[in-house]
Symmetry: C2
Subunit: 202 residues, 2 copies
DNA sequence: ACAATATATTGAGGCTACCTCGACTTAGCA
DNA sequence: TGCTAAGTCGAGGTAGCCTCAATATATTGT
């Protein structure tokens, strides 16, 4: 069996069919139950044994990664497009919103993602890298125009977007939107007059 | 047995002893393993049966809340003290840092806390309310001095602090500090010239 | 058409954890 | 000292993880 998560070499017809079914059920389950959804139930609903699931997707992360592939590609493409947007600040904000929205598609996803950065072998690691890289170009453009302080890195922005997505899982939508806005605004340079701990004027 | 989480009415001596042991072991376990630590192991290490644990603490949240009580009181007191700090901005930042630090004492704690706000019957609900209220006074003081935008509520700040604590669990410490700073800075009013999506000057 | 073989699938089985509840034990009082 | 309310116990049902030896089947070459 193909223990990699993408069907690279030609798979046997039955294997491919099962792979596809598993992926479809996983998507539903993750959306409904979050990233901790029961793998046994996913297998059951795909009409396949638990062993088969593990054959195709050796870890939960591998399965998650597979369900995420397309939307991540889309996000990277969106970043590319937004590079031509007239306002660098607006472009950055839009991408951040779109990304945060994707990351709260499944409950627990933000945690799985940010967590994957600790381990290069985690199947989600690459995905995070790609998204960070895509964001970096938008961030730099905004920086050139004075909207982003020097010490803020693309990794920081990625973490913030994840944090916002995480928060969104737990608070009302409307508050979630606000929190993301605060975080992105927090990347701006701090005006000199309030940087030091002295009391400001009126 | 006393199914409430605090020993209110006089408990039998053995019950009180077990209660205390459970609390002590829970603290260790949560610190070492996070808020999802095995309750059976906590009971085992306390030299008590699982049934006894459930007798004293009917839910994981109740046990968590009990282990948190003291440090939450301390945070509330700290907020009080900081109200007399000469710089409202510095006071706010300090309290936010202290709070975020407490909230990342146990892996998973920020999630348990923010999550508890969805359900008033969650034993952690009160704790969150208290912390939010404590932060509110600091926030208002900073707002009066122009450091905080109008639409940012105490609940927002509480959520941001939690988000920072969550992020801290997953990224290097040094990055974690920076993220919290970004979030708090994000509460500042947005300068007029960059509020609209127009490109700013040099 | 048919083996031969590489490729997949199966599911029981060993773990760990959650939580409940009826049977048992004991501290503390009169 | 014995009674009883208060507390403790832990087996047992449920569920999820993951593995691996046995079994099944798609494909390929003849």
């Amino acid at each position: 069996m193909n223990a990699a998560n993408t069907p690279q070499r030609r798979m046997r017809a039955d294997a491919r069919r099962n792979y596809e079914r598993l992926l479809a059920e996983a998507e539903v389950a993750f959306r409904e139950r979050g990233t901790e959804a029961s793998l046994e139930e996913i297998a059951r609903r795909a009409g396949v044994s638990i062993g088969t699931l593990y054959g195709h997707f050796p870890t939960r992360q591998a399965l998650l990664e597979a369900t995420l592939h397309e939307s991540i590609d889309r996000l990277v493409a969106t970043a590319e497009e937004l590079l031509t947007h007239p306002s660098p600040g607006e472009a950055l904000a839009r991408w951040a919103r779109a990304t945060a929205a994707h990351m709260s598609a499944y409950r627990g996803l933000a945690t799985s993602l940010l967590n994957s950065l600790k381990d290069e072998n985690n199947p989600l690691y690459r995905a995070c890298q790609q998204m960070t890289a895509a964001g970096e170009r938008l961030l730099d453009r905004a920086r050139r125009v004075g909207l982003v302080r020097t010490e803020a890195s693309a990794a920081d922005m990625f973490a913030l977007i994840n944090a916002a997505a995480w928060a969104r899982e737990q608070v009302p939508d409307e508050q979630g939107d606000r929190l993301l806005a605060f975080m992105i605004d927090g990347l701006r340079p701090v005006p000199a007059e309030i940087r030091s701990p002295a009391a400001p004027g009126p």
